[in-house]
Symmetry: C2
Subunit: 370 residues, 2 copies
Amino acid sequence: MPRDNISAVYRLKVPPAMAAHRAQTLALEQSVEMPAEAVTDLRVLDEVLARVERIEPQADGTSLAHLRLACETVCEDAGQLMNMLFGNCSLQPDVELVDIELPPSLAQSFGGPNIGIDGLRRLTDVHGRPLTCSALKPIGSTVDQLAGLCRTFAQAGIDIIKDDHGWANQRSAPFAERVTACQQAMREANGASGRRAVYAPSLYGTQVQMQRQIELARTHGVGAVLIAPLICGVATFNALKREHPDLAFIAHPAFGGASRIAPSVLLGKLFRLFGADAVIFPNHGGRFTYPAEICQDIARSNRAPWHGLRPTMPVPAGGMSVERVTEIKREYGADTMLLIGGSLLIARERLAERSRAFVEAVAAPGEVAA
Amino acid sequence: MPRDNISAVYRLKVPPAMAAHRAQTLALEQSVEMPAEAVTDLRVLDEVLARVERIEPQADGTSLAHLRLACETVCEDAGQLMNMLFGNCSLQPDVELVDIELPPSLAQSFGGPNIGIDGLRRLTDVHGRPLTCSALKPIGSTVDQLAGLCRTFAQAGIDIIKDDHGWANQRSAPFAERVTACQQAMREANGASGRRAVYAPSLYGTQVQMQRQIELARTHGVGAVLIAPLICGVATFNALKREHPDLAFIAHPAFGGASRIAPSVLLGKLFRLFGADAVIFPNHGGRFTYPAEICQDIARSNRAPWHGLRPTMPVPAGGMSVERVTEIKREYGADTMLLIGGSLLIARERLAERSRAFVEAVAAPGEVAA
């Protein structure tokens, strides 16, 4: 097998005595997908067949199998990378993908974030503290209601105001009208405040549809968008990111319930690899049940040096509240975006006040993790 | 809530006393995604907020929650349907999507299979018995090797010869060269045999790339393609299917490991809804562990009358062998495609013979389920 290849680590939930055999069948499944005895071409056996590098028994009775997959199977295509890493074995419940590593050339060909953490800071002109983010909810609202929300959030000093990920082209607020009105509200609010709050509309549909949505949004000056890579397909996400190298992409984890890819791999590494400038993930203690350690792993994978790819901004979210801002800042540090949605909106007529409280809590000096 | 809406049934893995509360938070998560108290617009509360219809305690201690979701949230977009059914709650491990039902108008707007079971029979001119299918393996093979395989399989009488789902644009056999050579081999074999064996190349990448691949394939007379809807995104799949209403789409389950969507929903109903003419699924007793009952549920959902959508051809696969043909025929009946790959190729120099044995076993008279 050539030197430049992909490493993938899988947790095997089989008795330790079975681990070596299971790893071997996994290597077949994720490469030639046929018995090795049936392969007649020696080059394929030597260079294409995935290889079991080593197996590490774990204290909990599972085993970690380290596999090497040939780069030539991936064709620098994002969907194909997912296919080779977890296509068929996603259907086998005794396998979990727990880590990946790529050769630098493959990482560079996907390219990672367009602007990353630094770019999001330049875009919003926010330095030395976490960014703040809120969401336009609920779906079913009218364009006027959403533009009003934009104005309230922007005036309160929130940095990024994103569509809820449930927004597509609903008749109560079709994409074109929504984007026009919300971006106009942002422009006015920014004009008055001298700040650079950013509106990020949610993309939906196919690559061609998303392309049109981005073009429309750009004519209004939109500089960031929300995208759900597991719904639209990672190849579409990666292609759009390449076509718009100055645009920020905020990745939403919806449909990420392929629960047997470790979140630090899927949201931490793969989303970054394909180009997320910011990755929203379900923080611990909210509506979702990821433990703190997994959340920290995601943030670490988003920001760690990796083949020269820009760092991605982690966005702990999912039922966060103003009351938890200090704790989240302490945990995740400054290179973080704090996203609070429903917990602001529940203030109803005191929304502006509560949004300002959010902004002030994030801006407040105090202990911030390195 | 208006009459025309989507029903979704979720299994809740919480203590029965918690089920009502859990169902209510699920209804919020999958619609307005904020506390109901924070919703100020009465229309949204009345028409957009998902509704818990009823909760059925189960013998195993779980509960089934029947929810109604508003059609207006889906915008007739396939990705958005996945998002509203299982976007955020896919990240919550106590929730499994176990059934769905749609209003006829929404089902018709997605459209289901282009040609379905009847069309695949017309395409291949095979009636009254299951279809046979094999795969071009392994990735890493050359174009000549693959064209040779096509010839052997077609001469042996196999009906559909598909690319392995690991094929993209690998340098050993790039898409354009592979499709040209394989389709040419099929044409020659069909010319000699008077049969109508079909080659189905595997699509990869984005909608725009797949569109180009389809156009290229069509110029060579290709009439069927293989697609992995969970990798390319269901919106892309559905859009391609609409743009090519005479083309057969064979759906591959790769990356379907969102294991908390019941396979009968994901592979049985949703793949059919978005347009799979044939759905490959991991049959019991092979390399995968779906129990027989789940496999039968998939086949049933593929074929049952449903809003006038064409029935989809179920394709039990994943480590099947010639020795199991009689059993599979008995279990699934005639409106089935039998897919055997590695178990043919392992015969190596006796591949033609073993392929003929496959074809003869399928054609043999004998007990076939209704």
